[in-house]
């Protein structure tokens, strides 16, 4: 049952092969058995999940079933879910029981999917290895000595270890695609504005975007059908007609123009990863795609630009955590200033504090133009590179991450090395474009992800291109050993 696709689970529920309660109990049992070893979840609430499942069962009985009704979905702990502890991986919110639902959560509730639990993540989504979580690092199911990637490492590990059929995740600079890559999953970061950010705890507002983390492109399409759509509570949410991402997902891709940016294959890329991506390219050629060389000349600037814009926005977004209205408050303090400074010193982890300080610095008087404004200008250059590239090709293909999953602790003390993990993913966030990572091979039994980047709102196309690959390959069907 743990290997069934979302479509198979949906059909099974409809045919009453199993009930939602049985299905949910099955995954809760797996959670109990395996979560300790990989630490993928922060909160599990069996009673709540089973109560939701039981409600789903009555809806299924009434014949009002939707595609994902009754299917248990793991929710990244960045999404506020009413009555659930919602921590964002931080001590700051360890006591925060959300009083409301994020729009994404509401959408899953509306079709009566089951919330299986809240997945672990880097604190406030700041990290690429899931080592910054207050709740301990998540382990990669493919090798528990290695990191699962981040920041959606809990969602990735949970789905990879088959503790959940699918999970939600978020991506600010690669936080869906890099862990998907490191855990052998298909993950999609949609166009900025496609999925509502309301109730998704903000890291860098102009870059954050939620998306699905699943085994296959088809599963991602089903998840995106639920998650996407305009939301009047989010000013940056786009008003456009809702698509069914499952439509046309099997369309042939003959004649598709795939752009290969030379900058994605330069130094820093593990040669073994490069080989696997080349195999992927060859597979697409066999499927009738045309390969064109393109250039993204400013891609190397995406990391510096990101490390100005993201911390700047974060430093402001995280000012609300002051111990006054909710969340952690230090135990002893002399006065208001002392309460603020100790609360924030104790409530935030090192990486978060580092980024708050960088952000505070680049926005401060005298530095704004040199850092923040400059970064915004280069952001436009990076974005324009993509517009030019999409005149030559339909989709861009490259690696998702420079390497396979690395050992826990390997880069923890060196932020600069860690930041390079996102060198192929960040530019799409800066431009607001959709990006997808899917498994394309293994190196020493560790998955390698291949990335597809599309033009604005081309999610359906990306999912189609990925699905056709998956119809002809088996990389997405592989699972780590030890979780059967």
């Amino acid at each position: 049952m743990e290997k069934l696709s979302l479509r198979e689970l949906s059909e099974g529920l409809k045919a009453r092969k199993f009930s939602s309660v049985e299905l949910t109990q099955f995954f809760l049992d797996r959670l109990e058995k395996y979560n300790l070893s990989i630490n993928a979840f922060i909160s599990i609430d069996k009673d709540k999940s089973l109560a939701m499942a039981s409600r789903s069962d009555s809806i299924i009985k009434e014949g009002k079933q939707d595609y994902l009704t009754g299917v248990p979905i793991a929710q990244k702990d960045i999404f506020c879910a009413e009555g659930w502890k919602t921590t964002c991986g931080s001590k700051m919110l360890d006591n925060f029981i959300s009083p409301y639902d994020a729009t994404v959560i509401r959408k899953f509730n509306e079709i009566s999917a089951v919330n299986l639990g809240k997945t672990n993540m880097d604190e406030f989504a700041m990290g690429s290895s899931n080592e910054t979580s207050y709740y301990g690092n998540v382990k990669n199911p493919w090798n528990i000595k290695n990191v699962p990637g981040g920041s959606s490492g809990g969602s990735a590990a949970a789905v990879a270890a088959m503790l959940a059929p699918a999970a939600t995740a978020t991506d600010t600079g690669g936080s869906i695609r890099q862990p998907a890559s490191l855990c052998g999953l298909t993950g999609l970061k949609p166009t900025y504005g496609l999925v509502s950010r309301y109730g998704m705890i903000a890291f860098a507002s102009s870059l954050d975007q939620a998306g699905p983390m699943c085994h296959s492109a088809e599963d991602c399409a089903a998840m995106l059908n639920v998650m996407s759509g305009h939301d009047s509570k989010d000013s940056t949410s786009i008003e456009r007609e809702k698509e069914n991402y499952l439509n046309g997902i099997k369309d042939p891709i003959k004649g598709l123009k795939i752009g290969i940016p030379k900058e994605f294959f330069s130094e820093g890329l593990d040669p073994d990863v490069e080989k696997i991506i080349e195999q992927g390219i060859n597979e697409y050629k066999k499927l009738g795609a045309e390969i064109v060389d393109i250039s993204l000349p400013n891609n190397h600037l995406s990391i510096p630009v990101y490390y100005v814009i993201a911390p700047a926005e974060a430093s402001s977004n995280l000012s609300r955590y002051d111990g006054v209205r909710y969340g952690y408050r230090t135990k002893e303090y002399d006065d208001l200033m002392d309460m603020y400074c100790k609360t924030r010193e104790e409530g935030f982890g090192d990486e978060v504090k580092r980024r708050i300080m960088i952000g505070t610095y680049v926005l401060s008087a005298g530095y704004y133009d040199a850092y923040y404004l400059k970064a915004q200008k280069i952001r436009r250059l990076i974005s324009e590179d993509f517009s030019k590239a999409f005149k030559k090709c339909d989709v861009i293909l490259g690696p998702s991450a420079p390497s396979v999953a690395f050992p826990i602790g390997d880069k923890k003390e060196d932020p600069l090395k860690m930041y390079m993990q996102d060198v192929y993913t960040i530019s799409t966030n800066l431009a607001g474009l959709p990006g997808l990572s899917m498994p394309a091979g293994l190196i020493n039994n560790l998955p390698v992800g291949m990335q597809l980047i599309g033009n604005y709102f081309s999610e359906a196309k990306l999912l189609n291109i990925a699905n056709v690959f998956q119809m002809n390959t088996d990389w997405h069907r592989l699972s780590p050993k030890g979780f059967e």
Binding site: S98, A102, S315, S316, S319, L363
Partner: protein, 476 residues
Amino acid sequence: MEWDIVIGIETHVQLKTKSKIFSGASASFGGEPNAHACLVSLAYPGVLPVLNEEAVNCAIRFGLAVDAKIAKKSIFARKNYFYPDLPKGYQISQFELPIVGEGSLSISMGDDNKIVRILRAHLEEDAGKSVHGVEEGKSGIDLNRAGTPLLEIVTEPDMSSAEEAVSYAKKLHELVQWIGICDGNMQEGNFRCDVNVSVKKKGDKQLGTRREIKNLNSFKFIKQAVDYEVNWQIERLEDGGAIKQSTILFDPDSGETREMRSKEEANDYRYFPDPDLLPLEISQEKINVIKAEMYELPNEMKARLIKEFDLSSYDADGITSNIAVANYFEDLLTFNVSAKLASNWILTNLFSRLNELSIDIENCPLKASKLAQLILRIEDKTISNNAAKKVFDEIWDQDKSVDDVIEKLGLKQISNVNEIENILNQVLQDNEAMVEEYKSGKDKAFNALIGQVMKASKGKANPGQVSQLLKEKLKN
């Protein structure tokens, strides 16, 4: 030494909307603490702002009223600082591209008009309130006000006395109520002024260092605070001291200003465009629609009153001094009373009674419809102006009809020529000496004779008719 006083004012005008600027929480004043603090007001993790259309419309109305340019594109920015009544740790405001650009407001100083230039006006959210005295050494935070919409109106440093500052503040206060964007309730903090004061040696080009007096919420305080501050600065400079740019508070009890302790450290607000809000684009069509829906502005109405009804400039000023007065006046006119009489009655009898009782015209017990009846009775000569004052007293706050009162008090004028002639003949007969005096050239005797007629008629004779008839009689 002689000194120039330089004053600029930043006014926070609370906009009259039902809901807050970025959320659907109630923007009404008061209520139990935090009862109007919704998810967004409380800055819960993950919540997002969505802009209230009415706040934007209010800003546009203001821009049009001060003849300012409405920005086609304006930007919301975050002003970052920590304060317990600021839940997000930043205030959403406008910094580089405000919604309203340069405009102007004309104020009257005695017989002179003076133009105060408006530099800009921008939309922003209000903060909550710190409540003291709940517990020893602690403060309570009430976020009901957090997120209510404000329009911050900034002038150039164009005022040069406390009187001008007050005059500007009053004029602005009237205007924002006139165009319906603010309740103007100063006790509730709907209209608060930050007054920037500096002094310089008379004739110096270079401006002096300014100190900003925060949060003045009455015209009286503006006057007192500016007067005190000007003296303080001059004294300090004359003693060889220097002025440090700072933010100060005015204490109404002592009548003094003092530096704010919380603002001692240099503020670095780290403004940047709010990534949760997109550029606000306003089309010319939208501006046109709002313009078309707007009521005549005070200066436009004043000009019309002078032109159309031949009111004096002084009277027209009085009628357009605030929207409620103007509305009362317009209400009177709907009953076809003469504009001049209507204006006279409002500015004299009505105003002095309202003043005596310290009530606003909005709460005037005498409705315009009833005052109109009274004025009509003057116009149709049923009663004299003097008699009308007696009726006014009777109908002021009582449910009596104008005609009943006139009847009951027997105030009806005698306008019947025969009746007046009878009285007149009697008076001429009884006062032959006076008649002789008049005929020998003493004009004063004429008035004395009229007085006698009025006395004989118990004040009911129509004085105009009396005078006319008397003239005719004396000619013979």
